[in-house]
Amino acid sequence: MENKQIDKPFAITLDVGSSLANKTGSWRTFRPVYLQRIPPCNNQCPAGENIQGWLFHAESGNYREAWKTLTADNPMPGVMGRVCYHTCESACNRGQLDSAVGINSVERFLGDEALKQNWQFDKPVKESGKKVLVVGAGPSGLSAAYHLRRMGHQVTIQEAGPVAGGMMRFGIPKYRLPREVLDGEIQRIVNLGVDLKLNSKVKDIQETMKAGGYDAVFLAVGAHIGKRTDIPACEGSRILDAAAVLRSMEGEDKPMLGRRVAIYGGGNTAMDVARTAKRLGAEEVVVIYRRTRDKMPAHDFEVEEALQEGVLMKWLSTIKGMESGVITVEKVALEEDGALSPTGEFETLEADSLILALGQDVELSLLENVPGMEIKNGVVHVNQHMMTGAPGIFAGGDMVPSDRTVTVAIGHGKKAARHIDAWLNGGEYVKPAKHEVATFDKLNTWYYTDAPKTVRPMLDIIRRQSTFEEVQGGLDENNALFEARRCLSCGNCFECDNCYGVCPDNAVIKLGPGKKFEFNYDYCKGCGICVEECPCGAIKMVPEQI
């Protein structure tokens, strides 16, 4: 070999690979850099789930890892996968391609899989020695307790009711959220070492704190007091409150609603109560609402499902009074500016009971006399750290101003936990700088296969009208995997090797499975092909400092 080298004709014959001496990186005026953009789903998720992150693991069939990633933000995927209104899916970029990724159905699959496999959370590695009280075992309280416990704090939940779950149990009907799922996911949080005290309503927060020697408290008492409206009613008119009706569904004695049931209101609660009434055997269930269908606050799918189940709707109607099982209804007109005006046209309908589903108020008696506590419009004011005006007292969920959903409540729980943790450590939680959003235009969608969404099975209509069996089925493993693999991995490298392959200068170094890639700036000329051909927008060009 050595001989051969000497023998090579000068200049005309060259040793292989010698061009490595030529560092073409010096030609560059822009350099590519890997980045993680926030996928629109993550960006949208009120619970701050790293959706793309857990889908990434699910894609390769690693459900355990997927579940771990998911539950790092949200401890209740089984519940979430059923009751979350999944606004992530409306934000999902894939919606612009064919249809959004069925994030929610994969989440449910993971939740169910975890229950099936009895996966448990990792216990905290270190105890902080701090004591935190959580008031209320609804989603917000449970979420806060979970996160605080994982941070090593000693957590006690005081819950007024006989079972934990809050509105997830006393509001959301069984046919949407089977109780085994709820129980299983609550138990798993308790298993972490959270001290759950049932039937122990907090009456005066300051007192309870002092008595228990708590360093901080998270309030999550929800909103349970049904709103009423002024309906002239005579004796014998059965007027009920939706929250109470649904609550009583959990007790021994099911509510007696009669053959004909009228519901007043157009929200999700109205739909739940209407569908519950139907299942309890009511022959005629009518929802009365003052605006039109598209103005109903209830989600369209819930209205649709209610209609499918035979619930009747009366739009542009207000109730004027109820007398001996007869409801008087006035037609209203919708003006062009959106205002409603009475028409003076009346009609009547017969009803054995009228259920008011007009929203709920917060019961705030436990906060009386707390200095600094600020209450506006019946809800507790919190700053951006989820802390009330009283130092060390944090609050979240339905009792603070925001959307009232399980997801928001869970998100508040997580956020509050972080701030409480920081507060306990005498610091302030600094949110990591938010990356830019991986909007659709950042993607090169050519590379994604054409794969429409998998539809979840629905219970047949007869059973839906008469039983409390779960309406929407889950995905089987195959479907869940397929659905996960529809994810475009917006803004986050999923190791498709495109950058590694398309670089004309071999300036991308592949670090191995799971380790992603690195640029070799010695040779990268800055052509930008990698950026253009990255399917998910995980690379960008930045100007070179010259």
């Binding site: 023998d7 004709p9 005309i12």
Partner: protein, 418 residues
Amino acid sequence: MLKQTEGSHAVAEAVALCRPEVICAYPISPQTHIVEGLGELVKSGELQNCEYTNVESEFAAMSVAIGSSAAGARTYTATASQGLLFMAEAVYNASGLGLPIVMTVANRAIGAPINIWNDHTDTMSQRDCGWIQIFAETNQEAADLHIQAFKLAEELSLPVMVCMDGFILTHAYEQVDMPSQEQVDAFLPPYSPRQSLDPAAPVSIGAMVGPEAFSEVRYLAHAKQMQALDLIPKISAEFKEIFGRDSGGLVRSYLCDDAETIVVALGSVIGTIKDTVDEMRAEGHKIGVLGIHSFRPFPAEAIRKALSKAKHVVVLEKSIAIGVGGVVASNVRLALDGIDSRIYCVVAGLGGRNILRTSLHRVFRQAEAGELEALHFLDLDWDVVNRELERERTQRRSGPIAENILRDVSAVRSSSVG
């Protein structure tokens, strides 16, 4: 073994004895019989382990040869005239890459006007291409030179052009002493390339070289040819040891020791000149012949030594560098720089014109007498030439010269063109 055979065939057999591994064939007169002969030997199985490739042009022939040689195979091809020019780009490339290809050029004129007959214009056009150019005087020497050429080429890693006069040698039936395979094998070791394309030891051959190293590359090419000046006589001597014949070498002189007039020439015409010289010697003329057998590298030292005592040097050559005069003569002049002798250039035998002994007698005597012009065209028909020149002077557009002359001499010498 003595054999009465056609020159082309003798060369084919000699080449076959060298065990070439790749042969590229493309027809052009007067070379065709050589590759035909080799084709036959390969087909019949007499020449084994040889890829005989019929290509689509001379350019391809040399290109295929470049490939096979670079890949470590002993490679041979043959051409002539237009063919040599058609492959010219690849000819330069082969030497630039240092590939020891051996190629026979059956010397032939270059058109237009197209002419299939012998002269040396074709190889002279490639004199600076970096190949070694050796010239055969006889068919015996043509056969022998091919055997030496492979050895020379492979030792230097340079291509060698063996030049032999078209028709005069290629098509002449003469007695040739054909060497045996054992002799050739004893003389010529198997080809061990200086570099080759090999997946086990990859290299990049044929880089682009800029001003920073190009002069050095060119100087090295020159230096290599200078090494050949030592190697050619050495190989010729080795050859003699095994085969018992004088063949090749840089130059060979005949009756030069006391010669006052020395005729310098290349190729088969040396035979005619020797006959003339013999006749003149019989008449008492002090005349001799110096045959140049290696034209590239040009053996300036050897020529200077051989000619240093001659008063008159006649360079008789079958080529003309239009616009200057003789190609060989210019080179000889350089070799004799500073020596006080008269140098005449006689251009003869262009396009197959017979070189008559009577004409040679005439010009040699004129040279002896110092009466020959510095540049003389042997047996030129001055009537025709002057008429044409006159016509051109009077008419602006006189038509193609060649046709006019043909009309003038009213004789088409040959209707067969190759």
